[in-house]
């Protein structure tokens, strides 16, 4: 039954506020859980403290300079933002890029997916209180960071793509390829062992099965994306429609039917193995040519857009360029934005102690999401916390 907002809140006997700075949350967002007899009847997530106004900064900048800022939107899925925005400009201006560059971009994206999912798993297991698994995830993640460091020279902001191809420093030579293969083999072994262990562990399963149910209809209705959507039984992945993936690589899309926290965790565990498969294919069949096409001109561009699959779901970039190649009306829509409402819905009906893991299982990453400012002054005031309130919240010890 769908209740109106006021109905739900009237039924609630107690309100549990978490955040914006709270021991259970790594990022500044605020969750209000409306609780009736220890069952969550409604949730409200507020996330407007981290707004940076990136789209507005980019307005009027030369395109080569502006695209690098898209990478600074997020420190977890940094490569895919830059890839997608570069791809959008290349599509709009009709710039051809060498296949070798496409392969290297795909390798970057898949490595990023692996490290994002492993970070998610480490965080989720930490919330569950299973420190051994959490540490294993962080230990598995370190070689991935080293691979990215070897590929590009930075651990977080790689800046692989540039209009026309990839940067020369990110090109994969013979020696690099050998090292990457070696690291990939070790990583695959570790991930396989971990996947066997994590998805069959009775302790973990007993804690995360049957909670945080998000039905297929709700997932579609509230716009869940990426692994959250696929864990609810909808087989939709933007990689199915991205030329770079469909033409060159053979891999499976992981779909689970349950829609619970367990499905969301398991979906990500198996996606890591699929990503390793893609990287191996890309390294094996890497075409031998120049990774950069420098014969292009930047001029006026009509509205252009591009979609791609980030670790958390669909990402969309669009803009136009004026005569001198400056950005006009940049739009960047990121996946966590729509996953927020899915998070809110999946909490309803569960025990209040499960809320933290349910929200974490939807993989919130709010750096890209803070993109709205509330115009209404009166409403705005409601959300700003007094210093006393912040102090009281932050003093609360980790449960």
């Amino acid at each position: 039954m769908i209740m109106s907002d006021t109905d739900r809140r009237d039924r609630a006997e107690y309100e549990v506020p978490l955040g914006p700075l709270h021991s259970a949350l790594l990022e500044p967002f605020r969750i209000r859980l409306f609780v009736d007899d220890e069952r969550v009847v409604d949730t409200e997530i507020t996330y407007d403290t981290a707004h940076r106004g990136i789209e507005r900064i980019m307005e009027g900048m030369p395109v080569q300079k502006a695209l690098i800022i898209t990478e600074r939107i997020c420190g977890i899925c940094s490569h895919v933002h830059l890839w997608n925005s570069t791809r959008m400009v290349e599509n709009g201006l009709g710039i051809e890029i060498p296949q070798r560059a496409e392969y290297i971009r795909v390798i970057g994206n898949e490595l990023e997916r692996i490290h994002s999912h492993l970070l998610f798993l480490g965080h989720a297991f930490e919330i569950l209180g299973h420190e051994t698994f959490s540490m294993r995830c962080f230990m598995l993640r370190e070689p991935v960071q080293n691979m990215l460091f070897l590929l590009s020279g930075n651990r977080v902001h790689y800046t692989i793509s540039v209009i026309g191809g990839v940067r020369p420093r990110c090109d994969i030579d013979k020696e690099k390829k050998k090292n990457l293969f070696e690291m990939l083999n070790n990583l695959e072994e570790g991930c396989k062992n971990f996947a066997n262990r994590a998805t069959k562990d009775t302790l973990i399963i007993s804690r995360i099965k049957d909670i945080g149910y998000l039905s297929k209809e709700d997932a579609v209705k509230y716009g869940a994306l990426g692994p959250n959507l696929r864990a609810s039984g909808v087989n939709d992945d933007v990689r199915m429609r991205v030329r770079e993936y469909t033409d060159n690589f053979d891999f499976d899309y992981i779909v689970f039917d349950g829609g619970t926290v367990f499905d969301r965790v398991a979906c990500r565990v198996y996606e890591v193995l699929e990503s390793i498969k893609i990287i191996r294919q890309a390294l094996e069949t890497l075409p031998d040519e120049e990774p950069m096409n420098v014969n292009y001109e930047i001029g006026e561009m009509d509205f252009s857009h591009s979609y791609n699959e980030a670790a958390r779901g669909e990402i969309y970039d669009s803009c136009a360029l004026d005569e001198s190649g400056r950005i006009r009306n940049y739009i960047d829509r990121t996946p966590s934005m729509t996953s927020i409402s899915a998070m809110e819905v999946s909490c309803i009906g569960d025990h209040v102690t499960d809320a933290s893991i349910i929200i974490a299982s939807c993989d919130p990453c709010l750096t890209c999401t803070n993109r709205m400012t509330i115009v209404d002054e009166k409403k705005n005031k409601e959300y700003i916390l007094s210093p006393e309130e912040v102090k009281r919240m932050t003093r609360r010890r980790k449960v």
Partner: protein, 148 residues
Amino acid sequence: MLKQVSRKNAVHIMLFYAVGCNGCDIEIVNAAFSPFYDLEQYKVILTWNPREADILAVTGAVSKKIAPALKAVYEAIPEPKLVAAVGSCAINGGPFCNLGGDLGSSDQLLGGVSKVIPVDANIPGCPPRPEDIIQAVASVIPLLADKE
């Protein structure tokens, strides 16, 4: 004397996430918490409670909205305390304050951490590598121990 010895043996870092991109954030957690870099073996412990913190590590530029919260957290930390600005955004606002096109920098941001609270250590990098963070922490601990 006893205070200084005991303080040296249990340094608590509190991570404050201002308006960053998660990059520095994860590198700090990586340096302190993950088994690979493991700062905890040197008795440097990550905490989320300002009452027991000694070092406040701030990542990201400071927005107008989060500034009061940052001030409140800073005031809640007992003396002696140190503040470390981690990453180029925390030092001077990074690309969001200094790369503005025709319209200048972002309206939402104040700039670096030093505009709100006094900063004792800057750790540059985008993001700084865990080794840099460990080195910075090691060089900051004597400052903390000398304070009365």
